[in-house]
């Protein structure tokens, strides 16, 4: 990068400070995440598997992290993925988004963009119309997070 002029250093510092002021939440933790998960499953155990999570290993900007989820399960009228819940255990609130599918969805697949406050596990849970639950997890390292690192 070379030597920064004093002006460049000031500008960098100011924008860094602005970033920190902008998004400095308290963090939730594993207990809050577990409670949110238990609420979704009604206390039932979720089986590992069936869910593919597409998330970067390293998120350069925690304000906009691309996420794709795909559940390898039928979408028939009498047996389909009905809900998918995304949990970020160290965000201020663990629930990120809940997707609701119907047989008309054709596929239980969705892509979106989420905010991650800090390096953490992202857990995805899927519920089927028959009351079965599946789960998968992915760790994301967040470089410039919600919390300024």
């Amino acid at each position: 990068m070379g030597n920064l002029s004093r002006r460049e250093t000031l500008v960098l510092g100011a924008s860094g400070a602005a970033l920190v002021v902008m998004w400095k939440p308290a963090h939730a933790g594993p207990p809050e995440a577990a409670a949110a998960i238990a609420k979704f499953t009604g206390g039932k155990t979720a089986q590992a598997g069936k869910i593919a999570i597409d998330l970067p290993e390293v998120a350069e900007n925690g304000s906009i992290v691309p996420l794709a989820v795909s559940v390898a399960a039928p979408m028939a009228a009498d047996d389909y993925v009905s809900e998918v819940l995304v949990i970020a255990e160290h965000n201020p609130f663990p629930e990120v988004v809940k997707f609701n599918f119907t047989p008309l969805s054709g596929k239980a697949e969705v892509a979106t963009r989420i905010r991650l406050a800090a390096t953490q596990n992202v857990t995805v849970l899927a519920k089927t119309s028959k009351g079965a639950f599946f789960t998968a997890q992915k760790m994301v390292k967040v470089t410039v997070g919600g919390c300024g690192g």
Binding site: W23, P25, V96, F99, R113, I114, R115, G146
Partner: protein, 108 residues
């Protein structure tokens, strides 16, 4: 404020085909975590619900929290058996609902 939904929906498909839909709406998604220059918390104001129906039947929806990134984007699928209209809606915390529609011609 929500502005200009942008949609990518096919205009035609074959009966039974699963089509891909992309949606984007411009919205700050104020999380409620930020503070202004005086240190005062900026209140939460987000789009908390997105829905997609086809000919009146639910296809896909999302219950959204502040951790959905600004300018909410969703890419999802719909299985079409007949021609008709997709209707999309985005609901703000303040109750405002933004809607959009797209028609699709389904053959075969």
């Amino acid at each position: 404020m929500a502005e200009g939904p942008r949609l990518k929906v096919p205009t035609q498909a074959k009966k039974g085909e699963i089509v891909e839909i992309k949606t984007l709406i411009l919205h700050v998604m104020e999380s409620g975590q930020r503070k202004d220059e005086k240190g005062k918390p900026i209140p939460r104001k987000i789009i908390n619900k997105f829905t997609c129906t086809f000919n009146g039947k639910p296809v896909f929806s999302a219950d959204m929290e502040p951790a959905v990134a600004a300018n909410p984007y969703f890419q999802f699928f719909a299985k079409v058996e007949e021609s008709g209209t997709f209707k999309f809606s985005w609901t703000d915390d303040d109750g405002t609902v933004t809607t959009a529609e797209r028609k699709i011609a389904v053959s075969g």
